[in-house]
Amino acid sequence: MAVDTGRPVVRAADAKRVRGRGHGDAKNGDPKNPGGRNQGRLRRSLATHWYAWCMVAPVVAVIGVIVGYPLVRGIYLSTTNATEANVERHIGVNHIPATYESVGLDNYTAILTDGVFWDRLGWTVVWTVSCVALSFALGLALATMLNRKLAGRSFYRMALILPWAVPAFVSVFTWRLLFNEKNGILNQLLAGGGIDAIPWLNDPTWAKLSVITVNVWLGVPFMLVAMLGGLQSIPGELYEAAEMDGAGPWQRFRHITLPGLRTVGSTVVLISGIWTFNMFPVIFLLTRGGPGDATEILVTYAYRLSFVVSPRDFSGSAAWGVLILLLLSFFAVIYRRALRKQGEVW
């Protein structure tokens, strides 16, 4: 006898998408067969869903312990004045108890009324938007070029994907080598052309341009591969039909290619938006947030508060973290909406 699998994921509206459809086992209280109405609701749903719960139990447990606990603790810390100097610690055999105390929402008011947070937020937005927009545009352009009969196509593809294949921190070190102000190859090439050396990483504006360049360089391959997949899923007949109707290349691109890429495009833009927003290694390894804090995005700044400045400001960093998390939940809401538009239902 088949064990009931609970209700279908999608109610029978769309027969093709119905998954895990119940086989009507009345004993287990199939929801479609309300014979078990007298049983307690909990018992009934336990009987129906116990294995689903068993299957998700490990992940729920792990997330609860190693994400949930630190999260709750982080939120708590953000309402205290904990720093390196007053948390619980052990020096040799001496145990020094924690002496920090609750300060309510003072950390938050301090952060939100101080200009630093808004400065960093502004730069983070500029950084995220320009990185995503540039890598999307370049990825789409290259994908369109690659998506046709072309000599050496697989060679180009391999070459263009290389930046993704090399671990990001290795690439970042490589760029530091190229950007080196005194001896880097870029400045030597410029000197060969009679142009003065550019302080790639030591001038606030150039440093911003440099980190964006490196991140775009790292991000284009992902866009390229995703867009190629999207382009290949557009049926060729559409282009034939458009050509028959006299559409030029630009019209074909505008009215067939772009709408065909909407689904894939919106997803990769969101994903890479989240990645870029959280992009720690590029900034930390390339400029350490410098010069000054010109290239410091929200994530690296919070890291600096708790691990670089002295004394380490644990509570301030935690408050920054909570604020960043709030911003990211907006991304989550938008992402979910995008998924839902594409028929994902949960």
Binding site: I63, M158, L177, V264, T267, F284, A332
Partner: protein, 295 residues
Amino acid sequence: MTSMTTHVQTELDDPVRKFRPRGERGPLASVVLHVSLLIASAVAVLPPMWLLVTSFKPKSEAFSTALVKDFTLGNYDHVLNDTHFLSWLGNSLLVVGLTTVIGVFISATTGYAVSRFKFPGMRPLMWLLLITQMFPVAVLIVPLYNLLAGLGLLNQPVGLVITYLTIAVPFCAWMMKGYFDSIPVEIDEAGRVDGLNPFGTFWRLIVPLAKPGLAVTGFYSFITGWAEVAYASAFMTGEENLTLAGGLQTFVNQYTSDWGSLTAAAVIVAVPAAVIFGFAQRHLVSGLTAGAMKS
């Protein structure tokens, strides 16, 4: 009808204009296409190539513009024998390997459950996975640091494994869900008709079918951990406890700049990763955006 007549007319009016078959282009368009692709490829390939070239130069010549100058393997020799590089490599392999295995193992069943069943608590669970996936380092790093310090796990590979699980588990569960979604549900039904319970269906039918998905998920969480910098820099101190991302930072910082060793170490790290990546990349994007891309 009308379009056909105009078509014929244009051909008559303008006998010079050639009509190319679909998908072909003129020589000029070809040249433009190839030139722009070549430029793009050059931009993509040159930095890693320059890294490779620099690693073969003697230390003092690290910044020379010559392509080959005094070819030497000295940097590799130095990195492998005189530094802690091998223990960093070992640490990285241990930490990231353990994370990947544990992560994929415990998240596979969850991916299956959320792909196949609708159960009370599924919606919050999906939210949880979505949000934890985009957790910024900044939220967890301080509490985790304190937690690990309290447990005496700082500077221990185990501590870093626990930390990386916070990244790997939600991510693996999400990716596995996408993969299971692509396996036809009829297979489950057939299994159940033949008398398997859901666990049996999962273990005997779905897992064997999902092996490529498991491999890609594992691989991707491997390279994510391989390149992780923030936690590794904060939690691991002391030369021989570092992982690769932390260790490489010690070659070039405000006190020293040993570009020769850095480049050699970077090449040793990057080459195997790039080769494996080459095999897996075709599946990566579909896995990452799975669920969204299927229509």
